[in-house]
Symmetry: none
DNA sequence: AATGAATGAGCGTTCATTCAT
DNA sequence: TATGAATGAACGCTCATTCAT
């Protein structure tokens, strides 16, 4: 039943994972605990279905973005960045993802779901990066997508829903769009592999 | 007693926030629950002390980094990026921060502690950004620091301890160091404020 | 479930208020604590229901007494006095009321329940007093009922179940029946208001 | 140490018996629990000393009252009644006695202390009753004292400190003084033994 | 499908008590 | 005398789970 998953998602987002209890979900779904357990014999099953369903929603979002082929690769990269950053400021996303990240540290299923979601995200970035930088190896392009994806997600903690810097969301999106474009267009393979930048030894030398 | 906070931190990092119980902490600290509650009358006090202590540790790390003035601003920016990215791959940091981010959604104290930590992080970045870009307003420089901080933190989910892409940590650090340097050196105020990039309307137009 | 309230009442009466714990009640009701808390989400609810139920029982007793109109007012007053004094010597009443009186000092709900019970008791006395003394104001008649009620209740400590002077219960009932009859028939309004008795200043004068 | 008993008494009176804990007493006495247990190895000892001390205070009060021989027996009876009723309205007495009565149901020591206190109270009433009614047997006079004592104590629940009818305290004292005087002067031995009043069978007959 | 009832474990917390210093 | 530290049991309460109906 979809109502159960909606209820569970709402509890998770609004009250946090520690309060994602069978009772709270049942109450929100206007059911008894007994009946909830008819649909989900145990909490683990419910959690798995919940993660799958929520993540599937985000997957569909990414699929939709990629489809647009009318604009230039550079524009499409920036569209995607703005879309994801815009989404991350919603109550749902700000509520869900930190819970997912924390869960992934101790729950293999959550880690795997998270993994598959971000793979889809990276696959959405992949074609535009490939168009902009056909000279780079697939591995290097994947690393760029990985970095961009992480960079974007990390903004959640600051410009997410009701977070301290929520008001800076627009400027952060501008910076991100510019930064990732410049990065993709400007970086070379040697830099990615650490063969070029002179500053690397610094951290270590000065720490000692 | 420091042993209690160490035990609590270990429980949080290794088992996750939902298992951060008085009994688990007491057991790890080789105490009885009764005695634990002699030191911490309630769980909230313990959690607060724990967050404060752990965050204070990171604050001290940042303070130490900033101190180094021998290298060029560009090198120092890259040193700092590499230091933070290096740290984020440790078991402690990968375990602690996602828990903190999730907690911050529903616990005001956690949100506030998180806030003060990242302010310190941004203040560590501020002087190098100021040296590189004296032409930018303080507000714009702060936005750059905010973006960089978020970008770095977001890598945790991918290259953190035992995370899927942990092996890519070195490459990600290289990309980050390069990307942030290029960003700080290359961006202009109009871009930050969204007065320059032509791609902005795209997302909406194509979504419809 | 009535069994729970019965069990709770028995614990209160036989073991006293400090031992009225959820575990003790559950054990006596042959339940687990978990199941008890299915019926009573918290101890306060249980206590309130318990007080209400027990007090309702006494209210019904009083209602039954008043109904009897065949005997003279004087006889009815004495019937009532003997009934209440007879009841107060039962294990249940001797066990319950001191607990209630003590509780009423620190628990508002208990105070209010106690209040409503004794109001019913006084209303049971009111009509016979009114028949015997139509000349007195309602206020004065209420004061007589208040005094009689208190006088009766106070006997609990001495002639209650297993109390030191339990054997004197019959004589005390005789004295009470006589005393209250004489009081109601003999007192005048001036005495109630303290305008007549000459002894009043004595206490103070001699204490100094 | 007297401070401990004072602290314990204050806790009992202000917070009630269930909150009379070693910790609360220690805190009020500005001690540590450890040090409190130097003076009182266990809670039972403390409770016993507390009951003894408080009750001794009341015993001394009674002893003082009896001493006054200048007034007539009737006046002295009324003086005593007014004194006790006046005292019962104090915070201390209203707080202490219901706790004692409740305790006496399940704690033998409390029952015994209570017993000895009321014996003293009755012994205070005894001489005036004897002076007024030398014709009655000692046993009958003791029964009158017992009834009077119970009657007075029972007023606590209604006109005690912050109790519902506290404002009626003066009128109740007037009624009590009058009632007990009339009782002592008017009753005869046959009535006490139940050989005279015609109303006795009523309660039973009509209840059936 | 749905309810209500029940279990047993675990939660945070409080307590009387003990003891080394 | 006095403290601080420690124990172990009990407290009220919540939880995931089970099951008869």
């Amino acid at each position: 039943m979809a109502e159960i998953l909606t209820a569970a998602r709402d509890v998770l987002i609004e009250e946090g994972y520690p309060r994602l209890t069978m009772r709270n979900v049942a109450e929100r779904a206007k059911m008894t605990v007994g009946n909830l357990s008819y649909y989900y014999a145990n909490k683990e099953d419910l959690l798995h279905d919940l993660l799958e369903a929520v993540i599937q929603g985000y997957v569909e979002d990414f699929d939709r973005i990629v489809a647009n082929k009318e604009r230039s690769p550079e524009e499409r990269l920036q569209d995607m960045v703005r879309f994801v950053i815009g989404d991350l400021a919603t109550k749902e996303t700000t509520g869900f993802f930190p819970a997912l990240w924390a869960l992934a540290n101790h729950d293999d299923f959550a880690a795997q779901e998270m993994s598959s979601l971000y793979q889809v995200e990276r696959e959405a970035f992949a074609p535009v990066i490939a168009e902009l930088r056909p000279d780079l190896s697939k591995k290097d392009r994947d690393l760029l997508a990985l970095f961009i994806s992480g960079s974007i997600e990390g903004q959640t903690m600051f410009i997410g829903h009701k977070r301290e810097k929520a008001a800076a969301g627009g400027a952060i999106a501008n910076i991100a769009a510019h930064s990732f474009t410049a990065l993709v267009k400007g970086i070379d393979a040697a830099t990615i592999r650490g063969l070029k930048e002179a500053s690397k030894p610094g951290a270590k030398k000065l720490a000692s």
